[in-house]
């Protein structure tokens, strides 16, 4: 990238506290131009967000790092799709959700076609409390029985606390579709969890209206 002598790069200006929107624009421009500093700045800026989402969507999955790396690859390869710097964050959330959805679907297909044995997902939960770990493992086992879209909307709604509008935006669907998916996911989760000795007491207070 050609620079006038004495002029800061957009990334050096970041350190001087320019607005977030200007920084995001600089990141987008830099990545489009193949500037590795822009890519690293994007990583530093959004890695906690992406990691947090993937961590909870997949349940501290053993292949977490592979999925996160795929998210970044997808970001770099599709950066042209970002229309405005204000949209960068929400676009990254959408890319993350899409990557997780693809991963969940791929796992289902591999199991269906017996390409891998039907073994339970492996988790790397933070808590050392055995009861909490047991609960979390059972919860994600039940979530594993939902379709990928249903699992995602359920997790975004009840574990991430997202609004329905945010869920629709992240999933790339209409609000009505997000509502329908959530209703289906919730119903299925309650049915499966009610049959699970560890989860049953957790869903008893949930009302079906």
């Amino acid at each position: 990238m050609a620079m006038d002598e004495g002029q800061d790069t957009a990334f050096e200006a970041e350190g001087r506290g320019r607005g977030e929107s200007e920084t995001d624009q600089a990141i987008i421009d830099g990545i489009r131009q193949g500037d590795p500093r822009a890519a690293l700045l994007l990583h530093d800026r959004f890695a906690p967000l992406i990691n947090g989402m993937v961590w909870r969507l997949l349940g501290a999955d053993r292949e977490h790092d592979d999925v996160v790396q795929q998210v970044f690859v997808n970001i770099f390869e599709s950066i042209e799709d970002v229309r405005a710097p204000e949209a960068l964050r929400s676009w990254i959330i959408t890319v993350t959700v899409n990557a997780v959805r693809r991963e969940l679907r791929a796992r289902k297909y591999r199991k269906i076609f017996h390409l891998v044995p039907d073994l339970p997902e492996e988790h790397d939960f933070r808590s050392q409390d055995p009861e909490k770990r047991q609960l979390a493992a059972r919860c994600y086992e039940v979530l594993g029985r939902l379709r990928a879209e249903e699992r995602i909307v359920f997790t975004l709604r009840y574990l991430e606390g997202c609004t329905l509008e945010e869920i629709a935006g992240a999933s790339g669907c209409s609000l009505a579709t997000a509502k329908r998916r959530l209703a289906r996911a919730r119903k299925k989760f309650i049915v499966h969890a009610s049959r699970d000795v560890t989860l049953s007491s957790m869903v008893e207070e949930v009302h079906d209206e």
Binding site: D118, D129, L135, T198
Partner: protein
Amino acid sequence: MSEGKSDFKRLRRSLVEAVGDGPGEDRIQAQRREMVSLIAHRKRPRQIRLAWSAAAAAAVLLAVLLWIGLSTGEKNLGYSVGGNRVLVAGKSLESVDRPIAVDFDDGSRIEILEGSAGRLMKSTSVQVVFRLDSGKVSADVHHRKNATWSVEAGPYRVTVVGTEFAVSWIPTKKSLDVSVSRGRVLVTGPGLEPKGRRLVKGESLHIPGMTDEQPASPEKTVAEGGQSALSPGSESSPCVEETNPSEKTVTATGGIPAWKALFNDGKYAAAVEAAEKEGFERLLLTLDQGDLWSLSDACRYAREGRKAEDALMAVRSRFPTSGHAKIAAFLLGRVSMELNKDPAAAMKWFKTYLVEEPGAPLAEEAQGRLIKAGLAAGNVEEARKAAKTYIDKYPDGVFAPLAESALQ
């Protein structure tokens, strides 16, 4: 459909605590280092488009090649037998007086032990199938994503993902033995329906043989001491009984018992007090499994050790084959140790749990707490025995430092 006010609040709280916010700063920094490497080889978007154009052209060429009858198929996974390269799968391999090693190009190995015979039926990048005709093989399989390894023995199949294990098959008796030293396997076949039996490190499976009428019951054992979960004295089978959803009643807001409402609000001491007013002993006898479990939680969280013990014992006696009953054994160990200050009782409960659920997620924790209980009870011999087992099974576990100090 509108949603209730307290939807999954408790579940969310527990999950957030269990799962955490993310993998931690160290791993994020490791990802960053990977990113640096990735960026160094990344193509510009324009180059990616060119690459896709080239890929599209290649795809057309490939389709043409397929049309004229050339197969691409899965890639073969090469291997050698006894150091000699093999080009054709399916040949019978028989060892007489010394093991025969089958070494694969990905670093995996199958060893056919003395007096055993079998055939490598398939060896590709996504699937390896070895048929054990008789005798014993041991295998050390290196994990590769999307690759399945199977050992077939009679009507049984042992499927693995990155594992070290052994399979023994006696065709005349139709007897099968599988033991796992690393990783995990899935064994399917008669008597193991519907989903087969999963074994993890330290576990083994013995199927003694079939009569003409029915297959023998499989026995799952722990490696250490050879105690069987089905041996006399074990209080329940290893099966997890699913609760009948029709027994669960989702009550309306106004109909929740006072103790339950207080429990849901996190007011555990008040919940126990309310339960006492309703008749604690009566509740132990009449509550369904879910509510009884909640009551035991309330007692534990309110640090009412004796009541928690009573509630957990009620779970075990009234719902003996349930998953809750087994977890109750572990929790009784913790209640004994932490609330009732009775390490001898704690030792008994942790041992019970380990017998009933040797491969469960809490097994490592139970084994570690057994060491602590043994030391607290002054039973050095038991503590050292537990410590040795812990180090053998979980050398890098959370309780490893305690185990090592107990062994000194």
